[in-house]
């Protein structure tokens, strides 16, 4: 059980998956394995809201996880939500194995603006670090520049850096070594 599995849910560009794989490999000392794409479960679609319930997708990811996986990170282009909230950039099982990131609202086009590849890459990396951080027991950080700070709109995603603050970084290092001991 040592791999970080990256799973496209629905169609996701190879380029985005490359960005994610590189970022994950940089911050998390586990081999990253890219798994074949999964279809989006029909049960996740909410026809009224035209969005997808993240919990349903996370359940599917947990069920289909290979036995060797340490963490499963789903990536999707569809717009995620939960019944209570109008949207989510991503969601994770706190201190658990599954996380999902949606690229839908990270595209400039979503806000009626021209596409900007470098910005999309930055946002994607920040959200991936954030959700994976939760799976390793990190809660939201009060440092607005830390990847673990809570972003409730795209402006807050942009004001974060593509890194963890010193305190969250230290937590991760300690956590990695504990997991290695187990």
């Amino acid at each position: 059980m040592n791999e970080l599995c990256l799973v496209p849910v629905g169609s996701v560009s190879r380029q985005a998956l490359d960005w994610i794989e590189n970022a994950a490999a940089e911050w998390f000392p586990f081999p990253v394995q890219r798994l074949p794409a999964l279809d989006i479960p029909e049960t996740a679609f909410d026809p009224k809201r035209k969005q997808y319930q993240s919990i349903e997708i996370m359940k599917m990811l947990a069920q289909t996880a290979p036995p060797h996986s340490r963490r499963i990170l789903g990536v999707t282009e569809v717009d995620l939500a939960i019944p209570m909230l109008s949207f989510l950039f991503g969601q994770a099982q706190f201190d658990g194995p599954v996380a999902i990131v949606s690229l839908c609202r990270l595209h400039q086009e979503f806000y009626g603006l021209p596409a900007q590849e470098s910005l999309l890459r930055e946002r994607t990396v920040k959200e991936v670090l954030h959700e994976l951080g939760h799976t390793f027991g990190l809660v939201h950080c009060s440092d607005p520049a830390c990847a673990m700070s809570l972003a409730t709109h795209i402006g807050l995603v942009d004001s974060k850096a593509e890194r963890f603050c010193e305190r969250c970084g230290l937590h991760l290092v300690q956590r990695f070594s504990r997991e290695e001991e187990v």
């Binding site: 809201r49 919990i55 939960i82 209570m84 109008s86 969601q91 099982q93 809660v139």
Partner: protein, 451 residues
Amino acid sequence: MKKNWPILVVDDEDVMCESMAAWLREDGYRVDTAPDGRKAVELARSADYAICFVDLKMPGGMDGIETMMEIHRIRPDASIIIITAYATVDTAIQAMKEGAQEYIVKPCNPQEISMLVSRILKLKKLLSENAILRKKLTRQYRHHDVITKNPRMEEILSLTQEISSLRSTVLIRGESGTGKELIARAVHFSGARAEKPFITVSCAALTETLLESELFGYEKGSFTGAVGQAKGKFELADGGTIFLDEIGDISPKLQADLLRVLQERRFYRVGGTQEVEVDVRIIAATNKNLAEEVQQGRFREDLYYRLNVIEIRLPSLRERREDVPLLAEHFVQRISSELGKDVSGISADALKLLIDYDWPGNVRELENVIERAIVTCHNGTLDQQDFSWLQQPSGQSPSWEVPDVPLGELERRAIVAALERKHGNVKEASTALGIDRSTLYDKLKRYEISH
């Protein structure tokens, strides 16, 4: 910190409960979920939820409003946020009327809900701090909160009652931590001046010039930075009491100024030409022996007699050991509730250790020791192990006072004492004094000590 504010999510839809709980856990909260009102009430009986998100429409059994009312009955301080899928004014009004703190229509913006939760918790934190501070203040003001069964302390308490309505100056003497300010407050708050200000000034904390302007105020332009006129503590205490702590540390000039206030109840602001008249009761406190300070010429005799109209000498905690168990139990109850820790008492062994200890820092030290033990304690009772760090200094009085004698005399006395303790054994005495044997012999010769 957030773990101290547990949250409950009540909704018949599993996906709603799970997803909301997952989102809040990412923010560091401890979250429980309940699929119906009955389970929610059951959970609320055992956990003190700070916030409960309750769905308005839950099929069968209790609906959101009924659930909210029942939770409120058990946990009146819990903030209830009613969730509904439909925005109808009538339901909103009904929910708020029944005591809901907020009403939200799902789905709502993540920012909205994040701000709502932090706003409610901020308010709760303020309210709980406020309650603790109020409790602290009220406690300090009341006579019956001076905990004692020591006859000397009981005499002092009845004396404070008797003198509370007089204007006579009071001088309170006692070691640090014996509760001098507590007694001063007791005098003030049980007398006719209770509704008027009680102003405390720590005389040792300020330099002469600062203390002068602090006590008497200043006029605009009287020194650099005096941009306007400012009232001093004497003026602020008008009609009430001024408590001058550590009075033995004030300079000769201030002693003269203070004497004038005591005699005439009038003074000038720094840089002022107009006299200010005040009606203030003065209570002074010191841990020094002022009579000795007078003899040594460091404290004005006339001021000493002006201050010492009514003298109260507070016993040290060593002199009232019978109060240690009472005080310790009191601090355990108060501090564990303030810190939110489930500690209910002290074991007999631990209590014996506390009674035997000499308490150089007196009641304040006991309070701090209990607080430290509660913070690090993992059981419901404080035992001996929780105080293992409390070391009694051996063979030496904890309140060792250095007599005002030449340094050489101090050295001579230390050598004599060491020889006495070591029954004349020069080798052991030199080790105890931290010097070698030949040095000790030299000193014995110099001070003409025979052994």
